[in-house]
Point group: C2
Chain length 404, copies 2
Amino acid sequence: MADDIVFLSEGTVTSPRGFLAGAIRAGIRPDVDKLDVGMLYAEAPCAAAAVYTSNRVKAAPLLVSQKHLAEGSSQAVIANSGCANAATGEQGLQDAREMAELAAVKLGLAAHDVIMASTGVIGTFLPMQRVRQAVSDLKLTVEGGVDFARAIMTTDTRPKYCAARFGYGGHQYNIGGVAKGAGMIHPDMATMLCFLTSDAPVAPAYLAVCLREAVDASFNMIDVDSDTSTNDTVVALANGLGGGEPIDVDHPAAGAFHSALTAVCIHLAKAIVGDAEGASKFIECRVEGAASQADARKAAREVVRSLAVKTAVYGQDPNWGRILAAVGNSGCQMEETKTALWLSDQCLYRQGQPQPFDTAATKLHLGQAEVCIRVDLGLGDASAIAWGADITEEYVRLNSAYTT
Amino acid sequence: MADDIVFLSEGTVTSPRGFLAGAIRAGIRPDVDKLDVGMLYAEAPCAAAAVYTSNRVKAAPLLVSQKHLAEGSSQAVIANSGCANAATGEQGLQDAREMAELAAVKLGLAAHDVIMASTGVIGTFLPMQRVRQAVSDLKLTVEGGVDFARAIMTTDTRPKYCAARFGYGGHQYNIGGVAKGAGMIHPDMATMLCFLTSDAPVAPAYLAVCLREAVDASFNMIDVDSDTSTNDTVVALANGLGGGEPIDVDHPAAGAFHSALTAVCIHLAKAIVGDAEGASKFIECRVEGAASQADARKAAREVVRSLAVKTAVYGQDPNWGRILAAVGNSGCQMEETKTALWLSDQCLYRQGQPQPFDTAATKLHLGQAEVCIRVDLGLGDASAIAWGADITEEYVRLNSAYTT
C-alpha cells in the first residue's frame, strides 16, 4: 500500500522534481506592477491530460492547445492574464499559435509540446509585440512556481497554490498545482485556470481518467456565480522523474495517486471559492442519502448555487425553506417526508416537518466564516459535497462598476 | 376570422362577464394595512386548467388544488400571502383542505370546485382562526379584481393586472388576469402566482393546451434570480358566459383565443420582471436564427439569467463578451463564425469578429430603463424572446437584511 498523503508547506507546481517556472510583466494588463505572462517547463517529456470548458464559445489558445495535446505529450505551459484571446477569429488563432511557437523556440521544444492559456477580457487581441519581448526576457527557476501563480491572477486577491506528497515502494511522489478563480464576471472575465504537475510515472491514459474524476469532485462542485467561461482549463503534466514502474489503474499506488491529485484539486477549488469576488462567507453543502451519485451532486450544487441561499447565508438568516426549495429545484429524486436538513449540528427539518431549533446557536454558526449545510435525502447511499460563496453588495459593485 | 386583440384600460380578472372578486386583511402578514386573503368567484361553472411549479417540494395548497382540478371543473379561487403553507406536513394539508372548505361553504360550492394558493414564508403554519374570520367577512364584487391582485402581493411594489378583448361572430370575449412576482427570495419567498379568467366558451382540453403554451412563452421566459419556488401556480378559469359555440382547436376563433391568452400572460410576466426586487433595468433578449425552438429558448433564457450579463447591464457596460459567453453556456447549438450580436441597433460581433461600434450610442442605450439584446445564431429559423432584470446592490440588501 502507498503511504499517507501529506501536504507540503508552501508547495506549488515546482515542488515535484524537474519542473521550472517563472513570470514577468509584459504589460498586457494596465496595472504597473502585475505579472501577466507565466511559463512552466518540465525538464523531461510529460504524460499530459486536460479538461476544458463546456462553453460552446472556446478561446483561441484553448483550441490550439487541444490540437497540441492530441499529439499525446507536452512539456511546457505558457499563460497570460489581461486578455482572454476569445471571440478573436483567425487573428486570435494566429496569435495563440505564435505564442506557443515563441515558448517552443525559447525552450528548444516543438510547438506541439506547448500548452497555452489566456484569461482576461473577451474580444480583444493580444499585444503580440509585448508577448514576444516578455517570452524572451522571462527566467525559469525552481523557485518560480508562486510567481507563475501570480501571473495568471485576474480579480483574485491572492495566488493559489499547493502540493501534496505520497510514498510508495521507496519512491516519494509529488503533485503540485496552481489555480486562479474567482468569478466569471469581472472586467477580467475571470476564467478558471489550473495547472497541475507531478513527478510520478503516471501512464497517460490513467492520468486522463484521474484528472477527469478529480475535476468532477473539485472544480465541478464549486459555484461562485453559475457562469462558465470561454477559457476554463485544467491541465496536468507528469514527468515520471520520481522513478518506478508506470502507474496505471492496476498499479498498487494507483489509488494513492488518484487521491492525492483529487486532494490537490479540492484544495485549489476551495481556495477559489474562498477568494470569490466580494464574498464574505464560505458555504459547504453535503448531500447524503441520495438515490444516485448524480442526484447527490445536482442537489449539493444547486444549494450552493441558489441566490436565495447565498443571500440568506450572507444575512445570517436561518431560513431553511430556501435550502429545501433549492434541493427541490435541483431535479434530484426526493420525498419531503424522508428529507432532513441541518445547519451545522442543528436539525431544522425532518420527516416533512419543521423542527424546533436553537435559533441563537444557529445564528452564531451563520456568523462564522464557514457555514455547513447538510441534507439527508433518506433514499439511498450516494453522497456529494459542493462549495460556494455567499453574495454581497460588494459582489454587485465589483461586477458592475467597470466600463470597457 | 376573429377581430384584433385590444387591451382594456384598467382591465383585471373581473373584466370578463360573471366573475366577482374581493380581498381582506386577515392579519397573516404583520403589516397593518396589507390585504392578505383574496377570493375569486365565477357565477357559472368553469373549464379550468393549471400549470404548477416544477420544484419537487410542492406546497400543501398546490397538492390539494391538483386533486380538486382533477375533478375537471372549478368555480372559485382562494389565495393568501404571508404564509406559503409549504414544508408543513400533514397539518399543512389539513389547513389547505379547510381553506377550500371555508370558501366552498361561503359560496355554496363543493370543496373540489375551489382552488387554493398560498405565498409567503416556507415552514410556517397558517393562522386558521384568522383565515376563518377573513373568509366569513370577505365581500365579493365586480370591482374586486384589483384588491384581489393586492392581496396576493408579497415583495411586489405594485399590483399586476390586465385584460384583453377580441370579437368573433358577434360575440365579445374577454380574458383577464392578475399576477404576483417578484423574486423567489425575499423573506416572503416570493412564489409566482397568476390567475386568469375568461368569459369565452373554451373547451377544457383546448384551455389546457393554450395555457401550457402561453406559460411557456411568458412566465417560463422570465428570469429574476433563477430560482423556482415551491408554490408557483398559474390557473385559468373560463365560464363561457360570452356565449357561442365551444372554442376547440378547430374553431375559427381558436387562434385568437390562444393569442389573447398569450398576450395577457406576456403582459403580466413583463410586469413581474419590471417589478423585480431591487432591479434598475428591464432586459429583453431576442435570439433568432436558432437551429431549433428549444435552442432559441435556452439561449435567450441563459442571457437574461447570467449574473455576468445582469451586472454588466446594471453597470451600463457594453461588455458583449459576457453575452456571447452566456449563449455559449446555454448548451444551444452555435458556431462562432455564424453568430452575430446587437445591443439595440449596434452590431458588436459578427462572423467570429468583434465589430467597431459607436460606444457613446451603446452606453446611452444601456442607460435606458429597457435594454434590448439581439443574437442571431445564423443556423436556422427558430426564435425566442426572454425577459429579465438586472441585479443591484439593493437586490442583495433586500434579500439578506431580513432575519426569520
